[in-house]
């Protein structure tokens, strides 16, 4: 289903265009799909132009601009989903989910459960991490661990254009509330995307690089950094396997454990704050299941425990990079 086979016709696209195409196809395929959020409609077409052209094609009724009202955007999406539509709500920058958390955490996540299965909330909330472009501490956070902690939500974080398209389509047509975390630093990255509609199943990790010496478990924006680190380490004779989780909930524990069982050395890396970050959960899982087989303690890379300052020097001081990931790999190799 991930359509990485060589026979599938491919087109090189940016992640921005791949996301746009996924939304366009979903809107065309199903009249119950609609988009709701700030500045989505043309001429703005979204702050990062992910929704560019969609209101012109599908109308402003279905690509619906709102006031700056994150609680009402997500709340209205919860209500519309409960009523049987498939809303795709956008919260422009991930830090802003703090305004909408009640709706996500107390209502979207729990409505199916608390109603004894009478309700379903087929809601997708798209949001984007803006860290790494000097936006400062309230516009740079990577907060997926907040959401992975809540039973009832699914949490999906793509790293490539193809995954972005296939995973977003799966989220939109999933019957549970899905949080889809994009990254401003990835919108312009390009890659082959299979032509036509396809869905990438949630809960299936992807091996982005094969290697027998050590595993890096990662996701989202950190995947390209992990791949760059792997390339550098290959020159030093260390062959790295890169496991891209793609969805944190559901979590593909089998793929993680299978890779680490082979390599017996692992670094878990993400741009979110390391302390109490999702990597702690992955490290805990590996420790529980493979303790006796590890050649070294699980390495962990994440942002250091400080807000993300506006100055590029402060961002660099706190956020991980290919260099810090490579260094962590060298540590677990010794």
């Amino acid at each position: 289903m991930t359509a990485t086979g060589s026979n599938v016709p491919m087109t090189t696209r940016s992640m921005r265009d791949a996301l746009n195409l996924a939304l366009d196809e979903a809107l065309a395929a199903d009249p119950s799909v609609f988009l709701i959020g700030e500045d989505l409609a043309d001429p703005a077409g979204g702050i990062s132009q992910v929704t560019k052209g969609l209101s012109t094609t599908h109308g402003t009724d279905r690509v619906r601009d709102t006031p700056i009202s994150e609680a009402a955007i997500v709340g209205a999406a919860v209500g519309a989903a409960a009523a049987g539509l498939r809303p795709v709500a956008e919260v422009m920058i991930m830090d802003f989910i703090s305004i909408a958390l009640d709706q996500l955490v107390n209502h979207a996540a729990k409505a199916r459960y608390m109603s004894g299965g009478r309700l379903r909330i087929p809601l997708t909330m798209r949001t984007a991490v803006f860290g790494g472009i000097g936006s400062g501490a309230t516009h740079s956070q990577t907060l997926e661990a907040w959401l992975a902690h809540i039973p009832g939500l699914k949490v999906v974080v793509p790293s490539t254009p193809a995954d972005a398209k296939g995973l977003l389509t799966s989220c939109i047509f999933d019957d549970d509330p899905c949080v889809f975390v994009e990254n401003v630093r990835l919108y312009g990255t390009t890659g082959p995307v299979p032509d036509g509609e396809f869905r990438t199943p949630l809960g299936v990790a992807d091996l982005k690089r094969h290697g027998g010496d050590v595993t890096i478990v990662t996701y989202g924006r950190t995947v390209p950094d992990a791949l760059a680190a792997a390339e550098e380490l290959s020159g030093e004779g260390i062959e790295v396997e890169v496991v891209d989780l793609r969805s944190l909930v559901p979590l593909d524990t089998d793929s993680v454990l299978a890779s680490v069982a082979r390599t017996r050395r692992v670094v878990v890396a993400h741009h979110a704050t390391r302390f109490a970050g999702f990597g702690a959960e992955v490290a805990g899982l590996i420790n529980e299941e493979l303790f006796g087989e590890l050649e070294a303690p699980v390495g962990r890379i994440g942002a250091l425990f400080a807000p993300i300052g506006s100055a590029a020097s402060l961002e660099a001081a706190v956020m991980p990079s290919a260099a810090t990931i490579a260094e962590a790999v060298r540590t677990v190799m010794t």
Binding site: A71, A76, R118, R120
Partner: protein, 331 residues
């Protein structure tokens, strides 16, 4: 007992409203009796005193109109048509409850009767109701959404964001504020800089109407107007119904923050006995038919409790059912 002559609903509607009020009161009293006597334990937020508003809801709305209410929701739920047996079982957190014992009194949901859900976070149901109304509008349906909430909710950002959005989009919705005088333990007047909740409507360019929420005939007429506006595409109304919460915020609330004289006055204005007397006065009910009706309500409630108390709570394995829809769900 003033005579409301003009605009009074037809006799059969008034009888039905009293019937609903009697049933709601019997149910609320039965829950409080069981809790006081130690017969069972559950969390509960009494609705006694607010029956008139529910009676209007139950007679103005169609089954396919969509209601979002709150944790103080028994009256609204009964009026909207949630069946008493499974409703009581849910309040007592039995597996046979309307939500399998997972919702409890605070989180009742029964879509077949148009009771979308009941929210336990003050103010949060209002944007959800706007979304329900948006879905109606986008499908071109002629149903109406109603967000029912207390005065306390009008202090939340959720209320203001939601009313703004609904007004902007002319969503087919009624914002029904049951102003019961207190937001938890704080008097309404201490929590708002305007005289009335209805005054808030002017900021959003929609009608704001304040009525005696203890008078079912009056609430019926004003709710029918607001629902009619919504159904005809004229957009939302903020309807404030003044009432009183006679048993406090939660069951067992000692209500130290309510002056005794205010409570005495509120008991005098209690809507069920008042409406019963009016219907007797007006010849809509006679004493015997009123007694019969009250007795039927008590019996229906008692049978629901006998049945629910014999039911089992959910099992431990039920804790993991309906966390997600499909099989791929667990973390």
């Amino acid at each position: 007992m003033s005579d409301h002559g003009q605009g009074r609903p037809p006799d059969e509607v008034r009888r039905r409203m009293y019937e609903l009020m009697s049933l709601i009161l019997a149910c609320d009293e039965r829950i409080r009796r069981g809790l006081s006597g130690g017969e069972f334990a559950c969390t509960y937020w009494p609705a006694t005193g607010q029956e008139a508003i529910a009676a209007a809801l139950g007679t103005v709305l169609r089954t396919d109109d969509q209601l979002v209410t709150t944790y103080r929701g028994l009256h609204d739920q009964v009026a909207k048509g949630v069946p008493i047996g499974p409703l009581v079982a849910e309040i007592l957190t039995r597996r046979s409850g309307v939500n399998a014992g997972k919702g409890g009194a605070m989180h009742i949901s029964y879509p077949p009767a148009g009771l979308v859900l009941s929210t336990g976070i003050v103010g949060s149901g209002i944007p959800i109701a706007v979304g329900v109304g948006l879905a109606i509008q986008m499908r071109g349906g002629d149903q109406v959404a109603v967000a029912s909430f207390g005065d306390g909710a009008t202090g939340t950002g959720s209320f203001h964001e939601a009313v703004n959005l609904a007004a902007l989009w002319r969503i087919p919705i009624v914002f029904l504020c049951q102003n019961n005088g207190y937001a938890e333990m704080t008097p309404t007047a201490e929590a708002q800089p305007v005289a009335d909740v209805a005054d808030r409507a002017s900021a959003y360019g929609i009608p704001g109407v304040r009525v005696d929420g203890n008078d079912p005939d009056v609430v019926h007429a004003s709710l029918a107007d607001a629902v009619g506006r919504a159904r005809s595409g004229s957009g939302p109304t903020l309807l404030e119904c003044t009432t009183f919460r006679l048993w406090g915020h939660y069951f067992g609330d000692p209500m130290r923050y309510i002056p005794g004289s205010e409570l005495d006055e509120a008991r005098q204005a209690e809507p069920v006995a008042r409406y019963r007397a009016r219907l007797l006065d007006d010849g809509v009910l006679d004493e015997q038919s009123a007694l019969d009706l009250d007795e039927r309500a008590r019996q229906e409630v008692e049978s629901a409790f006998v049945a629910a108390l014999a039911e089992e709570p959910p099992g431990a394995a039920d804790a993991f059912v309906d966390v997600y829809g499909g099989s791929e769900g667990s973390a």
